[in-house]
Amino acid sequence: MSVRRLAAEQPEGFAFTPENLDWAQAVIKKYPEGRQASAVISLLWRAQEQNGGWVSEPALRYVADLLDMAYIRVYEIVTFYTMFNLQPVGRYYVQVCGTTPCMLNGAEDIKEACRKHIGPKDTVSEDGLFSWTEVECLGACVNAPMVQINKYYYEDLTPESLGSIIERLRKGEDVPPGPQDGRQGCAPKTGPNTLTDPAIYGSDESGPEPGYAGTSDPKSKMPGPY
């Protein structure tokens, strides 16, 4: 992590859309009288979403005013939580997991692919569509290496598959999230290696589906209460 500062170039102003403002008022109401500052993270997050993925200085002030907080208090919060982007990001914001399991599985190559297809870290590509950064563990270690693009996880990546995702997104195509090597969810990559004895599944002779330890309806196949 490095020193986080507000962006040098800032938009003129910021205001919630009427829908977001209604939503914000509802969130504020969740907290007791005088404790409205508790809503600050929810509101900042919504402001970031509305603002195209980053918190601008006017947005920061807008949220502070909405909650009757001192600007410095909100400033403290946005500089602490790295989920708040203080610099503009691309339309597709790629967060590359660089923590140990991903790193061992080739996160360095994934970063190299990002550099190749998007550009240097933390800079928006020329077409404004992409930017990427490295983040700490996103909790999908079993599918390492992986990235998060906006709200979705793209897992089991290779530099080539990530490159293709980026290029398809660039063309405006829909790219389904999840494992990119045909794997189902986070099932073992090499097919089932435990609970493979068909006998344990009682009268049902079919056994587990190939490549997947469970079934689409686990309750019917799994032994004992689930």
Binding site: V3, I72, R73, Y75, E76, T79, F80
Partner: protein, 701 residues
Amino acid sequence: MPKIIIDDIEYDVPDGITLIQACELAGVEIPRFCFHERLSIAGNCRMCLVEVVGMPKPVASCAMSVNDLRPGLDGTPPTINTKSETTRRAQEGTLEFLLVNHPLDCPICDQGGECDLQDQAMAYGFDEGRFKDNKRAVEDKYLGPLIKTSMTRCIHCTRCVRFMTEVAGVQELGAIGRGEDMEITTYLERGLHSNLSANVVDLCPVGALTSKPYAFQARPWELTKTQSIDVMDAVGSSIRVDSRGKEVMRILPRINDAVNEEWLSDKARYIWDGLRTQRLDRPYMRKDGKLTPCNWDEAFAAIADRLKSSSGAKFGAIAGDLAAAEEMFALKMLAERLGSPNMDCRQAGAKFDPSLGRATYVFNTSIAGIEEADALLLVGCDPQIEAPVLNARIRKRWKQLEGHFPVGVIGADVDLTYPYVKLGAGPETLAEVASGKNGFAKTLKDAKKPMVVLGQAAFARPDGYEILALGARIVTERGAIDEGWNGFNVLHTAAARVAGLDLGFVPGEKGLDTGRMVKAAGTGELDVLYLLGADEIDVAALGDAFVIYQGSHGDKGAHRADVILPGAAFTEKEGTYVNTEGRAQMTARAIFPPGEAREDWTILRDLAKALGKPLDFETLRELRAKMYGAAPQLARLDTLEPADAGPIVKLASHAVAPEDSPFGLSIADYYLSNPIARASAIMASLSAMHADEEKATGTDG
């Protein structure tokens, strides 16, 4: 009272204190950086770790209450070892980590010689460093013209953040990038906007926040320390004047729980450069319309010459805001010798009358007494400007009561540091509260210890006396005067005022007050006007009167004067000042007056001799003996005795018919309110900064 064993000795300690305070009571010093008695507990520096027997790890003694410890298995009281190997290693380790990112630039750091980190590294640290890595560097921040920053030195104790938020009541400082990259800053480096901001310089345990005007001026061991009293406002904060040779190098607060706790307003702290400039260092007299230097005898002769062709009734004397009791008493004696009843110490024209009784012009509740009050009405005053330290005390009370401290304001819109209800702008509202028509009257009535504070803006107007009576009526009828409680308070803005009123430095029978003296001088009814440091009057309106100016600075009064008698500033004489509570205190001489300037009482003594009307004292001792005879309360230094509340009750029955013009503000420009402040470049820069911001934002913030 929990029992606790500290270093093998058993103590009974008060409930609810922390281990660090218990150790302090036991006379054991625990090193600390973030802990401060008057701020909330942060517990983030970890320097105060001690071993508590039975605890798996060393405990931060600043954050652990004595009530939260369990006794030993055999029933022995909780045991703390502050000198054990565990404690020593814990403290050494903490210090080593603190020094990892702290630059070892003590030789070029202004804090050197009075630095907590330096001292504690000597006492508790290793003799050498073991870290070879690069140190962190942090950009310096702009915190206004008073505070210099070297943020690489910051150890993130957050004392400054807590002070600004809790005591000064201004949420401007904060810690961004909390974690390894934590930095202390204001929002977008906009500077601090508080009249107490420079206290963070004292609080900073390292050299991260130092005094900008004092930067690289002196080392603490070169300075002579003199304990004195501040005169920039009527609070009379306890100060320490640090001087080197013939110059005051800086002013720091002293701890005085009854008055300023340990805070000091920015103005009182940074007035020192004004003590060096614009000084009157020799007598002057006007020859052919031009002020020319002369010697003392010539100056006295000129005055004697002018007085010969005048009469006592045509002599007037006005005492300024910074005059000490001694010289006012001497000037009063001189005026009486000359047969003049024309004298006044109320430059702004506030309608106080000492003959009514002392309770009608002092802050009866006392500053420490604010911490007992449970409702407050502010009338025509802005304590945040007029007495920043006193305002911090009100805020402290507001915090103690967790916000359940109703504050009503009658007067101009002010920016206090606690919420208040604006009741109205002028005497009408005051009359409504007095008659019970206003809702706040009930609040005051329901409160057990209500306070009413009347400011100078309420008195310095033609109907000031009526306002005073209205205030007295509110206080008596709302039950603010009771056994052991007097809620009638006058907040003065000038250090000299209460002493002047105590001494009766007001017009005698058929005497003229300040306003009428100025007018009479303009029309020629007054021949000679003696200004004792009085600059806040309209000097252009003095007509052809012969003006004698005695004072320390070449300000408005001196420019108009016909004879200038150079006097001493408050750091250059032993003078008695009475603060707004009625507490007599004495300044001490830190340095000598410049050039031929003299202590003011000697000037008046020698002038009287030259006029052939010697005063009946020769030494300061004799003068004080006479003065104490006239006003015995001045002899009881540093003590406060409650004034008899009787006069307030009597005043309450006075028929009331105030005007309906709203109250204004008593101080137009806080930073330029007296001759010393007007000579100070630092004050001028502060004044300019605030003027710019007002222009930019259109507010008074």
